[in-house]
């Protein structure tokens, strides 16, 4: 925990600085964890899945977002739940191995769920009709470059903007996942970075296998 978090201590009673917008966006787990974080996270996962069901946007992996595949309504939130659990379970076991602190599973699972809330942004942005038109037309254009009609420039620009927003949201989500891991397991430095990256890669593989077993097969 950084000293900036406790720099407002005055007098006899320890005090923490009241969280500002920046704290809520990038270091929320200093202030919220456990059941409240789990409730917020599950709501965000379900809402992102619901929005994704309208735009056929799938969160089919820990870090993945793909658009276009038509599927049953239950598939969309199920993908988010699988992606969340894959990483949370892996980080839980890694935390148990490398952390010297005793930590609560509820804190890690709750904050990992809440870390996925930035996915609401691309899920909503993907509802834009221009994005939908371009996403549908792009594969045909790639298969038959000369055959399909020209794609409108505005659609292409909006598609590009949604892609950029998605990349930013994924980076933000990963940053939150890392903060969650550090705060809940009391880890920092190389040990935290190394095990988090390893856990992220392993979780991506596990999520893909779990999604294949649960949804595709």
């Amino acid at each position: 925990m950084g000293t900036q978090m406790v720099d407002a201590m005055r007098g006899d009673a320890p005090r923490y600085r009241a969280p500002g917008l920046r704290d809520w966006l990038f270091t929320p787990f200093t202030y919220i964890a456990g059941a409240p974080a789990l409730a917020i996270g599950l709501a965000a996962i379900l809402l992102a899945g619901l929005a994704g069901s309208f735009s056929y946007t799938h969160f089919d992996g820990v870090l993945d977002m793909h658009t276009g595949l038509v599927a049953a309504l239950w598939v969309f939130p199920a993908e988010g739940i699988i992606a969340w659990l894959s990483l949370a379970v892996i980080l839980y076991f890694l935390g148990r191995i490398v952390s010297k602190s005793a930590f609560r599973a509820m804190d890690l699972f709750g904050t990992q769920a809440m870390s996925r809330w930035p996915m609401l942004i691309p899920a909503t942005a993907a509802l834009a009709p221009a994005y939908q038109r371009f996403a549908r037309a792009l594969p045909q254009r790639l298969i038959a470059p000369g055959g399909a009609s020209a794609l409108p420039l505005m659609d292409a620009l909006i598609f590009g903007a949604v892609v950029l927003v998605t990349i930013a949201a994924v980076v933000w989500m990963v940053a939150l996942m890392y903060r969650s891991y550090c705060v809940c397991c009391n880890l920092k430095g190389g040990r935290a970075v190394g095990t988090f990256i390893g856990g992220l890669l392993a979780a991506e593989v596990i999520a893909k296998v779990a999604l294949w077993l649960a949804v595709v097969r």
């Binding site: 406790v6 006899d12 320890p14 202030y31 919220i32 456990g34 602190s101 609560r104």
Partner: protein, 96 residues
Amino acid sequence: MPPLPIQCPSCGVGLAVKRMACPHCGTEVEGVYELPSLARLARDDQAFVLEFVKASGSLKEMARLLKVSYPTVRNRLDEIIERLKEAEPKDGHSDG
């Protein structure tokens, strides 16, 4: 009353108590006495420990009082425990 200085302002080494006085009769005792482990903590750490004891050692209650999350409080406590361990004399004798 100013806060108890715990580190030498010149070299940074932990200070020892050299003289104590009775505020009632003025009797003074001189020697070299080690500060207790808790007194060697930073002032904000001491305040945290005091509040923690007042909260009956409940991390949940501390989190509620400080308006931070449970793991934030627990990490803070772990840090203080580490500092207390570092402050303990090497021969294992604890005076705190």
